[in-house]
Symmetry: C2
Subunit: 848 residues, 2 copies
């Protein structure tokens, strides 16, 4: 049949061509929202429900209360269509002056200075305000106006008192009374999301001036919550980086319960906090089911019916409604204070109740705790200096899990909500449900392509590794005839000791089994792991790194050979290192004989080598070291020849972390078993998978349940995680979604500016750089106790970078930037430039 | 200030009193949806957008295609207000007959038999249809009518052919043209959700008769997606148990983009699949941004403008629109076939790619795989017998994680979506964000009340246990002077061997460290765990169980004492067993000396006992054994006297699983460390927490990072899990939300019918019953290979119960029912009665 699903179908067979998909754009500046006074976003569930009536009522309530106290109110209308016939800021401006005049009768001292502004407009909208022939400056078809009008309502004896102040601002106006995206298109007046956000921020910063007044601010959206803004981005997405608290103007008419609830849910699905719902009374008591739906956790306020007569000046209506607006104002002020108080109290409460992993609490006094209010794409929104929420680039990619940009984050939230609603969690064994099946198949077609046949789900990297080890040992036992013996006699006593072959510096997780597969380190002593023995044979690997503009090879002791000269030890580019043709090099032969020699030295009394386990290409927790991929490939081949099962620990490296979907692609060889986690869900919730070949699977098949793999966690293959994973796996490799992927590519484009990276590598304060895929790691020159995992050497540098809006967490004297697979190179390089600047300062300060 | 947040505020100070909170009610029957033909729900984003025009168009398209093929179309309108002036089923009925007459001009053979029905109506709505004085039967104020009308459009030469068939049914009608919940209230005609669902199901079953025809069915909702139904439940919640695929009629007007997107998101947040969006053309090309938002994955269809003239018979409009309706019909037919095909293919695909935990794949051929389409509260919706989706009670409570009823599930989905949108995931160490803080504090105030001071987050029970063991051993080392030595000399060689004290039959998780803390069992042999040593000293505990109407105590070998007689060995009630006054019994003394004696026998050469670890009261995976709580309490006291840290493994028992928030309450004593998981997130996603006292925490404080607890998982304290946990922890113990909690209670009400439980306990086929909180476990009498974990003895019983709509997973010859903390006793007892009936059959079949 016809594939209709990708088409728009119109009755008149006119086919609409889609423009670029909508996306949430984050600004290039780190955005900041002041917390010195309340700022609210006014939303509504549909157009024409009275957002501006509410803004006006709030302005009136705010300015009129306590007449002796000087107050200011900022009303911002970022986007106005139908201008000049429709101008919400003019409505607020003119109603407020009328209300002030009326109010003066009651409060003779009350005085007000009101102004109304228009910053930019399309040519047609600007025409009415410009004298013919007046000079016009255009940017993207929008005319710079900076037009304003002003009115003063003077109170009795108010000669010397400064008046209260109202500032109304329309940021952008178009003439057509249609949705902003249409008006912008029709009038050739475009505004990018980032420009709009920056203008909002600037208006919020300027506010109403720096006078000593009580400020209050509302930003009024256009149309409904999900109406497109000028660029076509939905407004709920567009304003998301600010995440201002919200007032929702609901619908009191027939059908309005549904529209209000749906709009509320759209806001929640963008991470907004709705502080109150307010709606007009249409006699249908819609507020009752709404309050019930909200379980009384969000107040619902009802305004009196608005006069239908268009000539009504609404003065009486505002009189009738003033108690509702006063209550709403009280709710908003109180929610604001509570929020600020909560943000201020959080560090204290955190150090009282948390026990952070990998953290010496002595080093984290209250003042060092970062309060994260939210995240949007690659950025945290952080509570800073006690009076603002500001963006910080999440350079630790939230501890190596993080993937989505703002657009994918929103899509993931919706899909995750859907999965929670459709499945919650359902038991996995012997069952099938769509997300688990979809995810398993995507894994096998993607990171498991050409080798894996089975997906075993668990919860995190450590459990995925423990499962992998059980699989490998069973396979080894099966292949080497140990199984029959052990089945005959189910005691453990007569069974051989199995160990892993692994590399020094690799790290596979924190549970005991995963720990046993790593070499002794600061993580494994009695202090940390009383039960750790180190059940492995651990080889020192050769590593590669960028230093002084050159990629260098560093060989471990015992691998130096007279056949090697400088030529063998350096590479012009990273691609040379990753090239498979190195298999034919002298070095490959040297590696091979080194490995054989080492293996022959391992005494059988210490056990049988039952598995090889490696982190392909990059040792993550071990300090971001790049292992020579040729060495790992030779090692894999040696083990395969000896029928030793091969495990790739791709928990860190998988899903484009290193620029390819699987790091096995960089190694040009396959494992028998591989473990995935972290980025698998796009960086949202824990899920992991151990993939295996059918040959491994078959060693668990038999006539008894006791022969099956008896390892599982309650939430195995949980539907919510599998849904997030399926979405992210698809998204990351889809060139229509991820701009870093070329249409036929299996490789991310280069994310870190090559020139800058080389510059850093040749800096005297820098020991080495490793840059690959989403990772840019930098080891600082450090000696003695300044080096190593326990070192605090980088902490001052890290602190300064947080001031710059870059949130890092060092690994001792190694710092790194990490982004998501969709992050634009522009964002990466902004962060990298900040790092470079601070590095220069840092290394100067170290020299002094 | 005034606490306004819990109030509804109206301009006229009239305060509305809320009726009962809305909730999603599941029917008492297991609901079934046929899959033999397409059935769709027609939704719209607001009222009056043309749902009925669309239903009519679909009916016309369906009935007129392939005139020689006999077709039938069922149109269901469950809820109609404004009757009889508004009757959507009458509209469909009358338009279709007109269209059929018109159509006959083109297709002379076409013939149609159409009928329109009304089942029940409020008195005022019924009045117009009833002759005065006609007998009336009322139920809850709704009059039984079963009224119908019929029309026939005969085709040429169609004398012998059966005509195509249209059946239009209004299920419930009210007179007032307002929202159904208001109409029902005003007209005193109430309909419970469950009654409505059962009527829908019955109508769907009867359909249009059993003739050999191509059937098609639409169910048209009233108002918008979240408009209340007659009981006040939102319709998107009300119809959720069926989870029928959806058509969304969107809004083509100004503001309609937003309303349509929000309505779509409301449906997604209930787990619905929207197959297509259709909207009327208002010249604003709303379809372009909609298609962009939907990323072309859901087709958007545009209908021609509907004539404004109310006297227009729409015949020409339907002519204009017919290609859109034909396309929509094609999309719906194709989505239906794809869905059925997918459901049919899933078992085959599952056995090809999955590797299920704890599953011998040999025993799970394709035919044994359960396809779970969704869950709603306590029920799975399962694809059954190849032609229906039917409800099954999730008696394994999705492997011991499950908590929410349908209402909480919806709330959790919204909160989870919100957390994903607000935070995605953000890094935890040294940071604070609201959900983590809220969750940590709720844990300390709840399950950690009066003893715990710190929360350590991880991902699942196993990791929580590994962390607990590390904490306990450090504390022990600290208290017993081992720490200084080990710090002096960081080698592992000189450190003592530490072991745990634990009970035989307890189970603490599947990672190696957790495994080492359990006694050797079928899970721990070389075949499963080559690295397992069993690093513990394991005691046999006394157990208690219900058998033959009496609670019995079973003592392990070595604990029999001449002081014990039958009187000591039986209890009249479970409360007697849990009573703390037993501390003063002879048995307490016997236990104490037994434990001391055992401990004294443990040779120091085997290590130092560095921790006690127990599952309080119930050994879960070990076979649902109830350990004598007195014994565990005595054991805890003995260890405390020896300064051995005490760990409670509450991963299974925590959060009301056993009727109290923490099982420690049943033991009447506190641990130093406790582990929680599973139910912590209400049964949605993995999260776990290890709680500890400040004394334990302090043993990790020092001047080096290397002294900190270096164990953590990437998603530690992930915001989405913490949000779900905070919601669930609060919900379960809130008597306003959870009907099983009394207003001041810390105990769930009894969920399993006592009489029936005792009856089962005295059945000859039953060895023992353990019933406590949400758990009802039953051990079948079984000998030899029929007993134990590997046994398949219960499989035929389990299979039969699945036919009855009860989904169980046995633990060998132990079967169990498990519900959530909010599940109504009615649902529990329905399931238990089914078990009893099948047990009788089963035990008879075993005798034969």
């Amino acid at each position: 049949m016809l594939r209709l699903s990708s088409l728009l179908l119109r009755h008149n067979r006119h086919r609409c061509h889609l423009t670029k998909p909508f996306s949430t754009t984050t600004s290039s500046l780190p955005l900041t929202v002041p917390l010195s006074h309340p700022i609210y976003l006014i939303w509504s569930s549909n157009t024409s429900l009275g957002k501006t009536l509410v803004s006006t009522g709030l302005a009136s309530s705010s300015l009129r209360s306590h007449p002796r106290r000087r107050r200011s109110f900022l009303y911002l209308k970022p986007v106005q269509t139908g201008f000049p016939a429709d101008s919400d800021s003019r409505f607020v401006f003119s109603k407020l002056t009328s209300l002030a005049l009326r109010h003066r009768r009651l409060s003779p001292h009350f005085s007000l200075l009101a102004s109304n502004h228009l910053l930019k407009a399309s040519a047609s909208a600007a025409a009415s305000l410009l004298a013919p022939g007046a000079p016009r400056i255009y940017e993207n078809g929008m005319c710079h106006l900076d037009w304003s009008e002003e009115r003063r309502v003077a109170g009795e004896n108010s000669g010397n008192d400064e008046p209260s102040k109202l500032v109304c601002k329309t940021m952008y106006a178009w003439g057509d009374a249609v949705s902003p995206h249409l008006a912008a298109e029709r009038e050739n007046g475009a505004v990018e999301d980032s420009a709009l956000l920056e203008t909002v921020q600037r208006c919020l910063e300027i506010g109403v001036g720096k006078e000593n007044m009580d400020h209050f601010c509302v930003v009024e959206t256009a149309g409904g919550v999900a109406s497109p803004g000028p660029s076509g981005s939905l407004q709920c997405d567009l304003y998301r980086p600010f995440r201002l608290p919200a007032i929702l103007v609901g619908d009191g008419r027939l059908g309005g319960i549904s529209g209000t609830i749906s709009a509320y849910e759209t806001l929640k699905l963008r991470g907004y906090d709705v502080v109150a719902v307010v709606l007009e009374d249409h006699g249908l008591v819609n507020e009752v089911p709404l309050a019930s739906y909200l379980r009384n956790s969000v107040p619902v306020l009802v305004l009196p019916p608005v006069p239908q007569d268009l000539s009504d000046d609404l003065m009486e209506w505002y009189d009738d409604a003033h108690n509702v607006f006063d209550s709403l104002m009280e709710i908003m002020l109180s929610a604001y204070s509570e929020r600020v108080k909560r943000l201020r109290d959080m560090p204290k409460r955190a150090v009282d109740v948390f026990w952070w992993p990998f953290t010496q609490h002595t080093f984290v006094p209250e003042g060092n705790v970062t309060v994260i209010d939210s995240r949007c794409g690659e950025n945290f929104a952080v509570f800073k200096n006690d009076d603002a929420i500001t963006e910080q680039f999440d350079a630790c990619a939230s501890w190596w899990t993080q993937g989505p940009d703002a657009t994918l984050q929103t899509e993931l939230a919706r899909d995750i909500g859907y999965a929670a609603a459709r499945f919650g969690h359902v038991m996995f064994p012997e069952n099938v449900y769509e997300p688990a099946l979809e995810c398993a198949e995507l894994l096998l077609e993607g990171v498991g392509k050409d080798w894996a046949s089975r997906t075993y789900f668990s919860d995190n990297g450590s459990t995925a590794i423990e499962i992998a080890l059980k699989m490998a040992f069973r396979k080894f036992s099966y292949d080497h005839g140990l199984l029959l013996e052990s089945l005959k006699d189910n005691s453990t006593e007569r069974c051989p000791e199995l160990v892993v072959l692994a590399l020094n510096g690799s790290y596979h997780g924190d549970t005991l089994g995963a720990m046993e597969a790593q070499a002794p380190s600061c993580y494994t002593g009695f202090l940390q792991q009383p039960w750790y023995k180190g059940r492995g044979f651990f080889l020192d690997p050769p590593t590669v790194f960028l230093s002084k503009n050159m990629w260098n090879l560093s060989l471990p002791e015992g691998l130096h050979s007279p056949d090697l000269n400088v030529k063998n030890m350096t590479f012009c580019s990273r691609d040379d290192i990753l090239n498979k043709s190195r298999d034919n090099s002298d070095l490959a032969v040297i590696y091979s004989s080194f490995i054989s020699h080492q293996l022959s030295k391992f005494p059988e009394s210490k056990g049988l080598i039952g598995a090889l386990i490696i982190e392909p290409v990059i040792h993550g927790a071990g300090g971001m070291h790049m292992v020579d991929p040729l060495f790992q490939r030779v090692l894999v081949n040696e083990c395969r020849n000896k029928n030793i099962p091969i495990i790739f620990d791709e928990v860190f490296t998988g899903f484009w972390r290193l620029g390819t979907e699987s790091a096995a692609e960089l190694l040009h060889c396959f494992p028998d078993i591989a473990c995935f986690g972290k980025l698998i869900t796009g960086g949202t919730i824990p899920l992991s998978a151990t993939l295996a070949t059918n040959a491994v699977f078959d060693s668990f098949i038999g006539d008894s349940k006791l022969k099956a793999l008896l390892h599982g966690h309650s939430y195995s293959a949980h539907a919510i995680g599998c849904t997030a994973a399926a979405k992210s796996i698809r998204w990351f490799k889809d060139s229509d979604r991820n701009p870093n992927i070329s249409s036929k590519g299996s490789l991310l484009r280069e994310l870190w500016d090559n020139k800058l990276v080389y510059q850093i590598s040749s800096h005297p304060g820098i020991k080495r750089v490793v840059v690959l895929g989403t990772l840019c790691a930098i080891e600082l020159q450090a000696q003695g106790c300044n080096a190593g995992y326990g070192s605090l050497y980088a902490s001052s540098l890290v602190k300064q970078l947080r001031e710059d809006g870059v949130y890092m967490r060092p690994l001792g004297n190694v710092i790194y930037l990490m982004c998501g697979p969709c992050t634009s190179p522009k964002i990466c390089n902004q962060a990298l430039r900040k790092v470079y600047r601070r590095l220069e300062e840092f290394s100067q300060s170290q020299q002094n």
